[in-house]
């Protein structure tokens, strides 16, 4: 089961953290530091775009193609971690 229109789960807060020089994901029991690509994907998980639109958006922003498999793999992982849910 994969996700159509991902959105960040409500218990998470994502923000740029100056002290870490990184995007971080905060949740009740802890926090994770995100690498740059994870952050770019998660930023776009706001319930307004489905996965194809999200991929297209990233490909435009970074002037590249062929991102879909990586994005889908990341979203699968993120769903398993319960970071994202269906909008």
């Amino acid at each position: 089961m994969s996700i159509d229109t991902p959105t960040l789960a409500s218990r998470f807060r994502m923000q740029w953290e100056e002290a870490q020089q990184a995007w971080v994901l905060l949740y009740p029991e802890g926090m994770v530091k995100l690498n740059a690509s994870a952050a770019e994907i998660l930023k776009r998980c706001d319930g307004t775009r489905d996965v194809p639109a999200l991929v297209a958006d990233l490909e435009t922003a970074f002037d590249t193609t062929g991102l879909e498999p990586d994005v889908r793999a990341f979203l699968d992982m993120a769903r398993q971690q319960q970071w994202i849910t269906e909008a």
Binding site: R11, L26, P28, E29, M31
Partner: protein
């Protein structure tokens, strides 16, 4: 409340990532296991003001703090809680409220939500009113359950915290069943840390190893049944494990606690250790207290470790255990935590667990947390 090992994947890099604000020690309940100081009553007159707490929040954020717990005492006793939550939220903290549920009215829940509160940890002690009420020394049970239902109704992520002792460990099964029905996603079974009130009542509170093993099996069954629907945090107490807990992930590593009077501490219990100098944010900048103060440097890192820790492979995992427990049971906070089977003082822990196992014991009534229950005059210099 942060666990000993909290799934932290963010390297602290010397930052106080977890901030706990004990905004008051006032509380309407009288829990016999409370880890607040015995002289909690004396702090009421010295509590930081709203503006002073705001300054603490700003300074902590500058130091890189991210996770924030409002605790106490009962934090709802402070009418400025909502204002502080809103302020912290705007600064970029992930805000948690740690509460007994007493005083969590509908109006306050609405205001806390509006202020940006992210999560609520509610403590429950039992699934039967008579048991809860006797344990906390007040008619609290129904109010607590009601608080749980309303927290869920407002859509807050919620942690149910059940402090575990001899008197309630048999209710593990009923508590999980109740929580599952309400849709609670996270239960933490908190092993009692025997400091302050809990230490006074230790012989009466400590569960037997048999009870603990039974509860462990109950938990395992529920984990199998509920799968991802609920996370159940349950660990064998250090007293029985023969291994110390990685207390606070190390002294002055990632945890910073501020007491009601502004004193900065590496953990909530540190004040039980004599001979250390406790200083307040009223007198010193927080950055200095965290980075430079003798208190935070005393047991930071691994250099101060005694034997047998120095020559032990586990030291980077547990940092020699808990300093407060080392002091309370061996008289020296610089010793290896006696919960460790390799500690030369491990017999002190065995004495306690042997007492718990003795079938025919003289039962003492529990001391209730209340002003005047014990004379604390001896605590003063």
């Amino acid at each position: 409340m942060p666990k000993d090992s909290n799934g932290l994947t963010l390297d602290g890099q010397g930052k106080p990532l977890w901030l706990s604000l004990e905004i008051t020690y006032r509380c309407p309940l009288k829990c016999s296991w409370c880890n607040n100081p015995l002289d909690f009553d004396d702090y009421a007159a010295r509590e930081l003001s709203t503006d002073e707490w705001k300054r603490v929040l700003r300074e902590a954020r500058e130091l890189g703090a991210l996770q924030l717990g409002f605790t106490g005492g009962e934090p709802l006793q402070r009418p400025d809680l909502e204002e502080l939550v809103a302020y912290a939220n705007a600064l970029g903290f992930y805000t948690n409220l740690i509460t007994s549920g007493i005083g969590l009215t509908e109006a306050r829940l609405v205001a806390l939500k509006a202020a940006g509160l992210k999560q609520i940890q509610l403590s429950l002690q039992a699934t039967e009113a008579a048991v809860t009420d006797a344990l906390v020394g007040a008619t609290a049970h129904e109010r607590k359950l009601d608080a749980a239902r309303r927290i869920k109704a407002h859509g807050f992520p919620m942690v149910l915290n059940m402090p575990v002792f001899r008197q309630n460990i048999g209710m593990t099964d009923a508590m999980i069943a109740w929580a599952a029905e309400l849709g609670i996603e996270y239960i933490e079974f908190a092993n009692i840390q025997y400091y302050n009130w809990a230490l006074m009542n230790r012989d009466e509170l400590m569960p037997t190893l048999e009870q603990v093993r039974e509860a462990e099996q109950v938990v395992q069954r529920w984990r199998d049944t509920l799968g991802k629907k609920m996370t159940i945090y349950f660990v064998i107490p250090d007293y029985y494990e023969g291994r110390p807990k990685a207390c606070m992930n190390g002294w002055g590593a990632i945890h910073l606690t501020i007491a009601p009077d502004g004193v900065a501490m590496p953990c909530q219990e540190a004040r039980v250790i004599p001979g250390l100098e406790f200083e307040s944010v009223r007198d010193k900048p927080l950055a200095w207290l965290w980075h430079e103060s003798p208190l935070f440097r005393k047991y930071r890192g691994l250099d101060w470790l005694p034997e047998p820790c120095v020559s032990c492979d586990e030291k980077e995992k547990d940092f020699g255990g808990c300093r407060c427990q080392a002091f309370l049971l061996t008289g020296d906070a610089g010793n290896t935590d006696p919960a460790c089977g390799r500690s030369p003082h491990h017999a002190r822990v065995r004495e306690a667990t042997d007492t718990a196992a003795r079938p025919l014991r003289f039962r003492k009534p529990l001391f209730k947390r209340a002003a005047g229950t014990v004379t604390t005059a001896f605590l003063e210099d």
